[in-house]
Amino acid sequence: MTTTTDALNPAHPIDHGHGADHGHGGHDAHDHHHAPAGWRRWVYATNHKDIGTMYLWFAFSMFLLGGTFALGIRAELFSPGMQFWQPEFFNQLTTLHGVIMVFGAIMPAFTGLMNWMIPLMIGAPDMAFARMNNWSFWLLPPAAMLLIISLFVPGGGPGAGWTFYPPLSVQLGAGMDFGIFAIHLMGLSSIMGSINIVTTILNMRAPGMTLLKMPMFAWTSLVTAYLLIAVAPVLAGAVTMLLTDRHFGTHFFNAAGGGDPILFQHVFWFFGHPEVYIMALPAFGVVSQILPTFSRKPLFGYVSMVYAVCAIAILSFMVWGHHMFAVGFPATAQLFYMFMTMLIAVPTGVKVFNWISTMWQGSMTFETPMLFAIGFLCLFTIGGMSGLVLSLAPVDIQLHGTYYVVAHFHYVLVAGALFSLFGATYYWLPKWTGNMYSERMGKLHFWWSMIAFNITFFPMHFLGLAGMPRRIPDYALQFTTFNEVASVGAFLFGFAQILFLYNVIHTIRGGVGPSPQRPWDGATTLEWDVACPAPHHTWTEPPSLALVREGLIAQGLEESTHVEELK
């Protein structure tokens, strides 16, 4: 069997028999035959594709909102002096920008991708817990509403930065409580989403697909999900302690009552550092799918890639102190965190070398997904290198809390996570919509974003080196030129994303024509073995061993036997 039986007929009633084998309450699934129409399809959604679609649209709208806040920041910073906002409101803009981009845009976008693609890539009919999946998505819009409403309560939104350090966050008004509850909801959603991903990947893989033969995106998703399960409760604990300090008279973070404000920073960054890998690892996965496809060559060093991902995940629990080099650790702690942080650069380097070797001696073509993957590789490497500079504690003493850090994390988050998300969207859009996107518009989007991104963020390195603090609404005159450049770049970058939105809508409406089932001749993973667009239900029967093996051989994960070569 090469394609699913109902591939061409999405309305064809089928049951989730395959799912029952894996113990996910197969009986409930019987009453759910085909997609209900209208709003019910989305509100009651249990289909992984519908839920994935909702995640992706939600994430994109949050990206536009968070981007609007970023432009609010950059507009104010175009010239010295206060032009548009009061300083309080500026602080709320930076906070909400950070919170929305991290928890509202990047994380849900990856969860959406995982929802859509993991079952397709490992040959599963759906996610393991379809109803919990619905719940994990629908917690997000209320969380976003809380964040937006917070701006309108007395005292305005949370203004303590996305890191919410007390005592400042204890001092602020009710907007902070809205922020805390929003984080609770988003944390719950992440935990449920992660349990679903772990269960699906561990229990529902196609026959013959052992763990070390999964697509790399499944691997990074698995590790990411474990990281989230480990640290989302830690964040929830930290903000709950904030909440009780604010309202119930506890003194976790108040020295006058025997607490310690630095305790919060430890707990927060114990979450926060793994969090940056939660945003980076799925990006690694995406790039590890795209590069081999367009190089027409298997991924280089699959096993070392897996080890590198696991090493990064484990080390990520041991480096949180590098965000706190300026709090005044004893020398031993300062040294420990510095050494561990330098160490984590090694597996990250391994990944970069592996990707370049994947391209080496390939037969490359440069469609939009490939451009974004290469863009990712270039810019993520730069972000990694500025990370190496920051890992040296003495140098970080100069750079901590300055624009250098803003430059560094946007190189890894925007150019890392976001560019990989754009790449992933272009890569799988034909499978999602059944239509081909406009390659010309896609390439324009890439080059425009790439150039505007660097205009925006590269000068920030210089600002940080010269000593401009971050999170300030106004600055000394010697910082003017680079701030002007950065602001112009930011608006250019913003406009490029409208082009992306237009291209996606255009593709949904037909694009440049229907896409073949396998639009990329170098693509070898299982999602390309289902019809285009992917029907509502796929892999209701698991792919055959032969089909799985065919893919694994093409990916260099299995040797072909003589018999197969003759075929």
């Binding site: 350090y165 391209m359 037969s363 003495p394 100069q398 260099g556």
Partner: protein, 369 residues
Amino acid sequence: MQLRRLCAMAAACTPSFALAESPYTFQTPQSPIASHINDLHTWIMLIIVVVFVVVFGLMFYSIFKHRRSVGHQARHFHENTAVEVAWTIIPALILAVMAFPAARLVLAQKNTTNADITIKATGYQWLWGYDYMDYGFGYKSRLATPRAQIENYKDGAPPKSPLYLLEVDEPLVVPVGKRVRILTTANDVIHSWYVPALGVKQDAIPGFIRDTWFTAEHIGTYRGQCTELCGRDHGYMPIVVKVVSDADFKTWVTAQQAKAKAAQDDPNKKWTKDELLARGKQVFESNCAACHKVDGKGGGPFPALAGSKIATGPKEGHIHIVLTGKNAMPSWAGLSDVEVASVITYERNSFGNHTGDFVLPAEVKAARK
């Protein structure tokens, strides 16, 4: 002789140099630690540039040569243990080599012993307080840029001064060539004391004391800013360090000590209401106005004192909240009895509050027990 004159001239020029710095890298280092940081940064940048050239060189070579449009055929290798081990070990070794100078520098930064003078820097929302522990005086250091230059909401703001946002009314003054130990703490939220040219940054944490040190190598004025988000005016609490010769420092200290003595309240003095009000206005404006505003109207999370139940109610409650603090309101027990008494008297009889009563230092003293 000539050489010394040259040195003196160069030293005199440093403040103006400070503005004509290269915009692409660190400010010119003015302390041994800052120079070492600079060197370490230069080293790591060299390594990075080499790695960058190799990595990007290989990548772009591949991108141009190994493309289908030039007819390149894919070669299906996907593993090479030797290469993979090499590119794990070699970066690890390079990093191990870098770790040595970095670790040595960490130890030097952390060694705050043998200080020649010790100064406590206290972060307040939104100004710095400096206490010269060895000399028994202290003062507050506030942004000197006028609000009118900052607020450009309407046309017609005056032009910005060259040191816009980096100027204060009273800078920190330290002698050149001496080991200065800075103790940091804060009164309300976390701040961070940062002077780039001297290579110091240390968070100031309420309820805790941390320390750092520097030795300024040249006479001059060095400027930095608070680098930990501390609320509304985080961008408006600069740090200015004026490095002077030893002799100038001694003269300055003597003058400051005399000034502190003159300003001290005589404990046996009989205070009249008007005297208390005048003193209270000073205390209010230097300590309380940051949150409650000069006109007592407050704003955001900070309540108005004008018409406040506590500020117009019984004296005891008013004294209590000032001495013990409440939530985001810090405790002011560190102020003297006279200061507390006068500021409370001022609050009860200003901003449209007319309790008509007044609080004597003795009452505050009693309330402290």
